[in-house]
């Protein structure tokens, strides 16, 4: 088992460094902007670590139901990608399932929960990002959007 700080805690440390020391101290506005973009990138990575495979598993399940497919047994990300490709083929061929838009919306909201949770909550930039790297709030938010979060969810520290 790796020692502390954990991967998540390291990401959080670097994010803080970018936001407070690099961005705030930067005289060049372009550097300041890039430092904030980089900090945001680390927030996304942290949320992805917290959610682990939950997001892909939920996406795969939504797509299986939509397309009437059985579980392929592949790792969730791989299965979700294959099913999404199949859905794209059907839409392109004019054979989109009737419920496609609703299912795709749930999937996109799931992606937003990792990449840009504030886009959905409508909270302005600059509010605390910390909340999104806590496992509990991340999962709560995620399950709100995706409806069907598979259990069990491990509670061990990442």
């Amino acid at each position: 088992m790796p020692d502390r700080p954990t991967a998540l805690e390291l990401l959080e440390a670097v994010r803080g460094f970018l936001e407070t020391e690099v961005a705030k101290g930067a005289a060049d506005p372009r550097l300041r902007f890039r430092a904030l973009v980089a900090a945001n990138a680390l927030s996304i990575a942290a949320r992805e670590l917290v959610l682990d495979q939950t997001s892909s598993a939920a996406e795969a399940r939504i797509l299986r139901e939509l397309l009437g497919e059985a579980p392929s047994g592949a790792p969730p990300a791989e299965e979700a990608r294959a099913l999404a490709s199949e859905l794209c083929r059907r839409i392109r061929g004019g054979q989109a399932p009737r419920e496609a838009a609703a299912a795709v919306r749930r999937i996109v909201e799931g992606k937003l929960a990792t990449a840009s949770p504030r886009y959905l909550t409508g909270k302005s930039r600059g509010c605390s990002r910390k909340v999104w790297t806590s496992r509990k709030s991340c999962m709560r938010f995620f399950s709100m959007r995706m409806v069907c979060v598979p259990s069990p969810i491990s509670t061990k520290r990442l």
Partner: protein, 334 residues
């Protein structure tokens, strides 16, 4: 690296600028404004017998250029044509096919605010924001009146339908990304079935939005970034500044985060005699969102393929889902 390059560039510009501005020039100050793997922009403060001159030098920097963008030579030719037609653009001074080994062109440096997030927020630009919608209409009316036969290098000329070409072009770009994106596919499917040409094809700027303007206290000073110009439907330009990503966080002001769309559309119709159907405008807003969702994925690909390593480009791959969400919203409203 910029230090050594800038000294060499200063010497080269000192030698080359006199022919472009028709008189002696001393390069007093040279600074890199923006630099990527494919393109640089240099600010030049020059002294001439007629007084100081602020210039911008746009120069290729060797990396892979965006496939769908105009070359610097063509961009310069287009700006020159727009300038002749009275469009608010920086005065062009000339194309240099070999400025230290790369294409470049020289233009006037306009002074004002260019950062979209600041244009929509700065209290001292409130008056400018009130004037901008009508000014945008006036510039678009001039741009759309440019004669495409004088600009034969613009993509999109010829063929039966500008709209069909635009949509099929996006499909090809989406396929080149090589990732499944069902939300974008749903948008494309709707556009294929419903999007129609609204009039004869015209010269469109292709990236006409608040973030590509120079804005001063009296509003629009100049329109920049012409590299995505093409021949297309006028509504592509009219709807593009209303794409949610270009409202810079002020979402309730649909026109670029500064205003309602009505004053721009009304003035445009008045000047061109073209009625703009609101439903058609919404359809072109969807086209704009589909275009930007694919654009975001392509920018991330530039990073992932090593064509231009940049955290700013990389993160767009993850933020494309914001645009996908907007596509679904717009589809739901039909």
């Amino acid at each position: 690296m910029p230090g050594a390059v800038s000294e060499e560039l200063r010497r080269e510009l000192t030698a080359r600028l006199p022919a472009l501005v028709a008189g002696p020039v001393e390069v007093a100050h040279l600074a890199l404004l923006a630099g990527g793997a494919s393109m640089e922009a240099w600010a030049v403060e020059a002294r001439t017998p007629r007084g100081p001159l602020s210039l911008v030098v746009r120069r290729a920097s060797g990396g892979r250029i965006y496939r769908d963008a105009l070359s610097l030579e063509h961009e310069h030719a287009l700006i020159a044509e727009a300038h002749r037609a009275g469009v608010k653009v920086p005065r062009p001074y000339g194309f240099l096919p070999d400025l230290l080994g790369h294409d470049a062109f020289v233009m006037e440096r306009l002074h004002g605010e260019t950062v979209g997030r600041r244009i929509v927020r700065l209290p001292e630009l409130a008056n400018a924001r009130a004037l901008l919608p009508v000014q945008m209409a006036e510039e678009l009316a001039r741009i759309h009146a440019l004669n495409p036969s004088r600009l034969p290098f613009l993509p999109g000329s010829g063929g039966p339908s500008a709209t069909r070409r635009a949509v099929e072009g996006l499909v090809a770009q989406l396929d080149s990304v090589g990732e499944p994106h069902p939300a974008i596919e749903l948008g494309v499917a709707w556009l294929r079935e419903h999007l129609r040409d609204t009039g004869p094809a015209v010269v469109v700027h292709g990236d006409f939005r608040i973030g590509n303007f120079v804005v001063g206290p009296d509003g629009l000073v100049g329109v920049l970034d012409w590299e995505f110009a093409r021949v297309g439907d006028a509504l592509e330009d009219l709807a593009w500044p209303s794409v949610k990503a270009w409202r810079f966080g002020i979402d309730h002001l649909r026109l670029g985060g500064i205003s309602d769309e009505r004053p721009m559309i009304e003035r445009y119709s008045e000047l061109t005699g073209r009625a703009v159907d609101p439903a058609a405008l919404r359809a072109y807003e969807l086209l704009g969102n589909v275009r930007w969702s694919i654009g975001s994925l392509q920018q991330a690909q530039r990073h992932l393929r090593g064509e231009e390593k940049s955290v700013e480009l990389a993160i767009l791959g993850r933020l494309a889902c914001e645009v996908e969400h907007e596509i679904l919203q717009l589809l739901e409203m039909r």
